[in-house]
């Protein structure tokens, strides 16, 4: 088995390494101490099993999860994160609460191994991400992949988010990015005081509005600071009026 461990604490990584050493079914172990490194390893090393910590610098384990698009068995490790634990309970292969015993560790690994054999993959991590964010405060950054680069977009730099089939397109000060997510997710996760779904297919950042012009009797055109013109729906304009108070 090819295994990747992502954790920012050296002791935590070393412990897993020690536990793994005592097993005989491991072919190769790789280690990463942050999400960037971790994602690079996922792409290059193509691990079968991933031990993933939640609290990490720059991008969290949950954000990393949003970027994984290859099949892999994920075993989460965390010391204490009630949101994560609640999300895992519903959707994860397994999760280990630090500190964990060797027996518990082996059990999780065996479960992942048998999942591998029956090619029973978690093909969709979105559930975990959604459950996690639902309980938390609003997100304040979005992590996207652009080629092999990972880009972190602070939400205040977003102009608008548009739906495109199964994807969303995020227009921001740092560029246009595609993300495998839903409008519904963003509508729930972004602070409704800043972001309004003005149309079925568009969420805009109200702080980036340059002008609002009447377009027809009940519809408006919104011109954003980047020059983008957005149409509103009847419901959308009602929501916008509530926030902007006009």
């Amino acid at each position: 088995m090819r295994i990747l461990v992502i954790d920012d604490e050296p002791h935590a990584i070393e412990l897993i390494k020690n536990y793994l050493k005592e097993r005989e079914d491991i072919d190769e172990i790789r280690l990463a101490t942050d999400g960037f490194d971790g994602l690079k390893e996922i792409n290059e090393f193509n691990p079968e099993i991933l031990f993933l910590d939640i609290q990490m610098p720059k991008i969290s384990g949950i954000e990393l999860l949003e970027l994984i698009d290859v099949p892999v068995q994920v075993i989460f490790t965390t010391a204490y994160d009630e949101y994560a634990i609640r999300a895992f309970e519903l959707n994860a292969t397994d999760y280990l609460l630090k500190p964990f015993s060797k027996e518990r560790f082996n059990k999780a690994l065996d479960r992942a191994k048998s999942n591998l054999a029956s090619s029973n993959f978690q093909d969709n991590f979105n559930k975990i991400v959604e459950n996690y964010n639902e309980n938390k405060e609003f997100i304040n950054r979005v992590v996207v992949k652009s080629g092999i680069r990972i880009v972190i977009i602070p939400v205040e730099k977003i102009y608008c988010i548009e739906s495109a089939d199964d994807y969303v397109v995020i227009l921001s000060e740092t560029g246009e990015f595609v993300k495998n997510s839903t409008m519904k997710y963003f509508e729930k996760s972004l602070n409704p005081n800043d972001f309004v779904r003005v149309h079925r297919s568009t969420i805009i950042n109200v702080n980036k509005i340059k002008e609002i012009q009447p377009y027809s009797k009940e519809n408006f055109s919104i011109i954003l600071n980047n020059g983008k013109i957005v149409r509103t729906s009847r419901q959308g304009i009602v929501e916008l009026k509530k926030i902007l108070d006009f």
């Binding site: 920012d8 604490e9 050296p10 002791h11 935590a12 070393e14 412990l15 020690n18 942050d34 960037f36 609290q55 990490m56 610098p57 720059k58 010391a79 204490y80 994160d81 609460l97 630090k98 500190p99 964990f100 304040n140 950054r141 972190i152 602070p154 205040e156």
Partner: protein
Amino acid sequence: MQNPFYNKNFTFSYLGITVIIITVYSVLVYFTLHVSWAVAVSESVISITLFAATGFGIWYVVKYNLSKTRLYEKIFLFIISGIMVVLVWFVFNMLFKSILIKLLGNNPGFIFNPLYHLSTGLFLFTILILVYQIIILFNKYAEKLKSEEMLKQNLAETKLNMLKAYINPHFLFNSLNSINFLIGTDNEKARVMIINLSEYFRSILKHKDQIFINFKEEYISALTYFKIEQERFGNKILFKDDIEESSYNSKIPVMILQPLFENIIKHAVSESLVAIEVYFKSYCDNDCLYILLENTYESEFTNQKKGTGLGLSSTFDRLYYIYNRRDLFQINKNEKKFSVLLKIPQKF
């Protein structure tokens, strides 16, 4: 403070007392000046009612006087306002009676003795001022009781929150995980960590009912916490301190330093890919203990909202509840460094 006439009870009592004084005054006038009952009563009604009406305004004199701090200013203001009030009252009193005489066609025996009236007026004025002063004192006392109660409640609340924060489960379980690794790999380090962890929790329990503590003890406790985190994060923390000898015996609110260190772990160390430099300095000056805690951070990508340090607001609150001052806590932030400066008054 509000004009007490806004209070219905006060207004009714005021009117009631006015009626009582009118009665007493009538009797007094009747027996001392040997006039008819009709004259005594009308004299009393006119004088006292007029004075009672002036009394509404005197409240503002008393209130304005509160803003003066020097005694001679207060006395001067009372004398001036007293003379003015009594004079105005006197003039109106005379005028009113003159009009009455005109209307009646003859003088039924009204008193026009300036000395008599002025001394009566001065007496009434003094009484009224005293009543107002008593009301103010009473209100102040009630307010003080209330604010003390609130302060106590807030202190209790922050204490509870502090305890919760101290027995920070994330910290505890991660430390135990570290120990779990160190056992068998580096027993000595594992032992040190267990000792540090125990000492840290023991110090929390020991001081949990105190408000103040010696700086030295508080610093050692916070440092024990920080040492555990240093061990957890390997070489990611570079720590330096500079403690002025004289600061050791200063008094400091208990558990005030640890959250500042924890803040660095949360927002700088665990959000950074490179090592973080931390610098702690303390010194005494002008009856104050100054504490500076400075750290570098990676500004890139660092969450702006997170970076403003929501955890620090509770430190600010506590200092405010304890010292009733808002200028004891300062945050400075630039591209590379984040620092907090605490000012702990030693005499208050």
